[in-house]
């Protein structure tokens, strides 16, 4: 009995770990001319991402296979069977991907910022 409970727990934990690992890593290269990074928020064409966790010094080579952009990511999402077209693709980012922004600091390396899509309500209501 104890053995079966133990096996069940191991299976559960493994499933969760596998689930986490199974999220695909996507890295967006930060481009200062079309993107902004202010107060922990990356903004790409009005789509906002919050820097979460800790940035890491990383060589470009180590992330280049994961480099993508929002248009490509969106196109991938709409092809997935889980996608419900009543919602924009960005609502699914956290379901399928671990997102990062790579901010180049020198020729071959830079900082890798873990990020998540956030929806921000700011500014003013004017009457």
């Amino acid at each position: 009995m104890k053995a079966s409970v133990f096996i069940f727990l191991i299976s559960l934990i493994s499933a969760q770990v596998i689930g986490q690992v199974s999220k695909e890593q996507k890295v967006i290269l930060f481009n200062g001319s079309t993107m902004t990074f202010k107060k922990n928020i990356f903004t790409v064409e009005k789509t906002t991402f919050k820097y979460i966790g800790k940035k890491k010094k990383t060589s470009f080579d180590s992330i280049k296979k994961s480099v993508s952009n929002l248009e490509t990511i969106n196109n991938e999402i709409v092809k997935r069977k889980e996608y419900d077209k009543s919602k924009k693709p960005d609502f699914y980012y956290s379901n399928f991907y671990d997102l990062y922004f790579f901010v180049k600091t020198n020729k071959d390396s830079g900082d890798l910022y873990p990020a998540e899509r956030v929806w921000i309500v700011d500014g003013k209501t004017i009457n």
């Binding site: 928020i41 906002t48 919050k50 009543s86 919602k87 924009k88 609502f91 980012y93 956290s94 379901n95 998540e116 899509r117 956030v118 929806w119 921000i120 309500v121 700011d122 500014g123 003013k124 209501t125 004017i126 009457n127």
Partner: protein
């Protein structure tokens, strides 16, 4: 003979005994009444800081008067640090008094603040001899509730606040009026006065070692001067609402932010000096404090429980067509900013702006409570929580801001939600503010600020024109707040 003498002696002793008994019970009754008054009077609860901190009652000197079926007991009250009024038409000295009136077994107590006109004789420290007095009584309950004002002109009292709670006191004062019944005019409400209170405090240096005091040396005396400019409560301008607004705007606290009608709610919000120095906004805000609906919204920002703070301020740099702006929270602070240049509107229209902005503030507060951060940012999980906690707001934000699908136009989610679901709240508040108008006026005013919404655009053009016309007429036919 000795028998008769004995009877007379016995009767005299009995009379003495009864007299003593009556006297004793009378004294006990008076002591009880006095103790009850002492217990009921809470000067510290008064929103007027001068009364709360600077006035004390002289309990040792009661003035008793009886007239017809009314028994009056009056106690003089004095300022610990005498304040001075700087005014062209008021005497510099203010008076305070505690009045207890018993009639037909019912006891009514009042605390009054007395303003005297320059051409009046000094206040005689009794409401029973006012034939040579001209001025105004600000009347409070013993726990500081502002009951309104009574204007006095040579013994004749007029309940200028038209508050029913003041009818009895007004009638009592008038029962002592012996002046001929002529029409009396009370000054216009277009003036202010300045109240200056100087408080001095001696400071000492205490030298102690191990809890033992070695010496106490006088250092200096610090004088604190508080100056407050106040509108004068009065009558006769012809605009009763303006009088009442101005009258209720009287109750600034020392930092200029507290008013009688909303005194219990003022700790809830932050008032910028630009706001508290604006008599129009302060008056409207104060009167709105009497609206249960407005209070309910304001209480959501009670700092003990709220996730957000609310600030009221005034700007002179907003665009001409903007009545006010409400800022999304920054560091938990939501700011409602009024356009100083757009206050030339009737008070009810400004009350509408207040409530419109309060609804925005409340929506921001709800969003912030889900975001759990100093600003409103949602990740995917928090969006799900928003859907669960506030499905209406979630729906409008998704439809008009977050999830605008191809072919749809972005819009202001809060205004769209307000146009469909919150106009009734605005109408209700406006009725509580002033219930003298036709329903269609409130309905029309509630549309102001919502004319860019889909709900407005769906209205038939004739209805839109009718609403706009009602608003225009209302604005033209009523006097402006500022």
């Amino acid at each position: 003979m000795s028998r008769i003498t004995n009877y007379l002696t016995g009767a005299f002793l009995l009379f003495l005994l009864l007299s003593c008994t009556n006297d004793s019970s009378d004294k006990t009754g008076k002591t009880d009444s006095l103790n009850q008054l002492k217990e009921e009077l809470h000067l510290e609860k008064f929103s007027n800081v001068n009364i709360a901190k600077n006035v004390e009652v002289n309990w040792n000197n009661a003035l008793q008067t009886e007239n017809k079926d009314v028994a009056i007991v009056e106690f003089d009250a004095k300022e610990k640090f005498p304040s001075k009024i700087q005014s062209s038409f008021l005497k510099a000295e203010m008076n305070y008094q505690l009045i207890s009136i018993e009639s037909e077994g019912e006891l009514k107590n009042y605390f009054i603040e007395v303003f005297s006109y320059n051409d009046s004789e000094a206040y005689s420290k009794t409401i029973t001899k006012l034939d040579k007095f001209r001025g105004v009584f600000n009347v409070f309950s013993l726990n500081g509730q502002n009951l309104g004002s009574i204007a006095i002109d040579h013994g004749n009292a007029k309940n200028i606040s038209e508050s029913k709670t003041l009818d009895f006191l007004t009638e009592t004062i008038n029962s002592f009026d012996v002046s001929p019944n002529i029409t009396k005019k009370i000054p216009l409400c277009d003036k202010t006065y300045t109240q200056v209170v100087e408080q001095s405090e001696d400071r000492y240096r205490v030298v102690s070692v191990g809890g033992k005091i070695l010496s106490v040396e006088y250092m200096d005396t610090v004088v604190t001067r508080t100056t407050t400019i106040l509108p004068y409560p009065c009558d006769g301008s012809g605009d009763r609402d303006a009088i009442i607004l101005q009258r209720t705007a009287h109750y600034y606290t020392g930092d200029g932010k507290s008013y009688a009608g909303v005194s219990g709610l003022l700790d809830v919000i932050i008032t910028d000096p630009s706001f508290s120095n604006n008599p129009c906004l302060v008056a409207v805000f104060t009167k709105l404090g009497g609206s249960p609906t407005f209070q309910t919204y304001l209480k959501k920002f009670d700092s003990k429980f709220s996730v957000a703070n609310l600030k009221l301020s005034v700007s002179s740099t907003l665009a001409n067509n903007v009545n006010a702006e409400t800022t999304s929270p920054i560091n938990y602070l939501i700011n409602i900013e009024f356009n100083e240049n757009n206050l030339k509107r009737p008070a009810l229209s400004i009350a509408k702006t207040f409530m419109h902005e309060m609804i925005h503030a409340e929506m921001y507060r709800k969003l912030l409570s889900v975001a759990g951060q100093p600003q409103i940012q949602f990740n995917a999980n928090q969006l799900n929580q928003l859907r669960n906690d506030y499905p209406g707001l979630y729906d409008y934000y998704m439809r008009y801001e977050f999830n605008i699908l191809p072919g749809q136009n972005p819009s202001d989610a809060q205004h769209e939600a307000m146009a469909v679901h919150y106009r009734d709240i605005i109408v209700q508040t406006l009725k509580q503010f002033d219930n003298s108008l036709a329903n269609e006026t409130y309905e029309a005013l509630a549309w102001e600020g919502l004319k860019n919404t889909i709900a407005w655009k769906k209205l038939p053009v004739e209805k839109q024109n009718n609403i706009s016309s009602i608003i225009t007429n209302f604005n033209n036919q009523n006097s402006n707040c500022q």
